[in-house]
Symmetry: C2
Amino acid sequence: MTLTGPVEVVGTGLLGTSLALACTAAGLDVLLSDVSAEHVRTASGLGAGRAKQPGDRAQVVVVAVPPDHLGPVIASILTETAGTDTVVTDVGSVKAAPLAVVADHPEAARYVGSHPMAGSERSGPLAGHAALFEGRPWAITPHLGSDDAAVELVEELVRLTGAVPVWLTPDEHDRAVARTSHVPHLMAALVAGRLAEAPEAYLNLSGQGVRDVTRVAAGDPRLYAQIVTGNRDAVLDLLGEVREQLDAAITAIGSGDRGGLEEILTRGNVGTRAIPGKHGGPARPMASVWVTIADEPGQLATLFADAVETRISVEDIRIDHDPSRPVGLVELVVDETHADTLLEALAAKNWVAHR
Amino acid sequence: MTLTGPVEVVGTGLLGTSLALACTAAGLDVLLSDVSAEHVRTASGLGAGRAKQPGDRAQVVVVAVPPDHLGPVIASILTETAGTDTVVTDVGSVKAAPLAVVADHPEAARYVGSHPMAGSERSGPLAGHAALFEGRPWAITPHLGSDDAAVELVEELVRLTGAVPVWLTPDEHDRAVARTSHVPHLMAALVAGRLAEAPEAYLNLSGQGVRDVTRVAAGDPRLYAQIVTGNRDAVLDLLGEVREQLDAAITAIGSGDRGGLEEILTRGNVGTRAIPGKHGGPARPMASVWVTIADEPGQLATLFADAVETRISVEDIRIDHDPSRPVGLVELVVDETHADTLLEALAAKNWVAHR
């Protein structure tokens, strides 16, 4: 089967509208529907497609509704399209719960779940963009009864957006996101919660570390409560492990057992190295070069121009602002073997830099 | 009293050597000592100062030895300099534990603790740099018996390095770093530890969020075990709170109590906003603009040049690499009110960008 459209998008929020825009840009006919007629008008006005009319029939239906509604909406679309070869997928952030609703449906073979690792701090159709999925992992999670042809069509849709397919079963997916997303989010919220209760003066000691650890905790509490409770079992299993390790850390610190504490910290070390590196290769040892700049955008551009001349690839950048002066520290993360060369080259251009 | 030197640095590791370099650069006479004569030779060779000779007398002694040795070393220096007005400070990451060793010393008035919020993934004198403290918060933690003149001299030393003084009592300091550094580090390690045990395929779903949460867990386990156990009481108090909140989260998720979970997540929201913003002002609402670039350093520089033309100040930057293709996503964080303008300007220059 080849993806020729029409593609129907049910739910014209951030993800739905972005997908619709990507499909439209690829020349496909896109049908839009939403419980909010205004959202459909907005998405349509952005060029995401046209409002679905009675009689329109889609080749693929993408369900992009909030997690709570996924199962029932997928089931009702399978029922409406009974007897056709319309493929149904969804972009929800949990996969076992909606599948449980749909699994016994007589038309379930036409359903293949999926989940793009993309988002934004904004929501609604106006936040949509055709490039949202560009370069992002997109999990495709066929169930045991999914038709091969349906799976292939969903893969085609994923590739059309510029996303990178990652193959997992629905259960594997949920356990994976519990580990790489839901539990990290919850723990970030617990750490950030302790800051909410701190005297203001204490927070003046905040550095890049605590900012990094807590950043994701700025996400919408209602949405994340919905996502996390939707992945109840996988999240609870992992939180049980975290609690066990937390107890072990408390015991080790309380009894002055440094070896026990080091063991826990070493496991964390190993974990940071397990996250895939650039382009899927193993993570290489990185080093940071710190540069002091006057806090003006022009400085940053000049710094980059100078860094580029070295032909050393900058893997990551962070900007740390002086809490009380118009000065910023820019951290350039590069391959460890290139850090000294970069440092010397920047110093030669009169930058105040150090490793 | 005015800082005229000599400044003696005891312990020529990363912090000691960096401080010595900053003092030398400011024209002060710097005396170096270390249990390792080789470290002194290395630091001296870098221009950090000269090896301390019998008969040399310092105006300020800075103790920059590992946390375990702080108290005894400070006490023995106070004894050696009995009857002089030599001021003694230290740069250790915990403040109550060394003070407990020193508090009853008859010369304790000449001791004022301090702690610069600076470091590196490297250690030893070769990693030292005069600019290490530039723009960093540096806690100054006088005890009740500290002489005013001694406190002023330590403040002068801190300002000389370009750091920003933050005034706290030793106990406040320890409770502050437990919250902003030690507990975030431990929780990052617990999250990262779960990744160490994950099937490799799961980690392909890792996004920027989990990388941010776990980044600090890459730090040296031996050093952090020493720091954390040195701040035992403050860390245990907070870990008790974290454990209580973790239990509350587990109960809420297990019983489907979304309101309870939302409450925990909302407290995290509040906490992320409590971290001081740029230049100490309140944190302003920020927004991200995502730009897709070919993964070449030249692209980054061109993007910066284009961003600079908009005259919008870029507050933070992150680079997210496609796990399987030579493409990167650059996240430009700007004031929320400027995000659309930046987006339009970049689109006009043919960048594939979205919010």
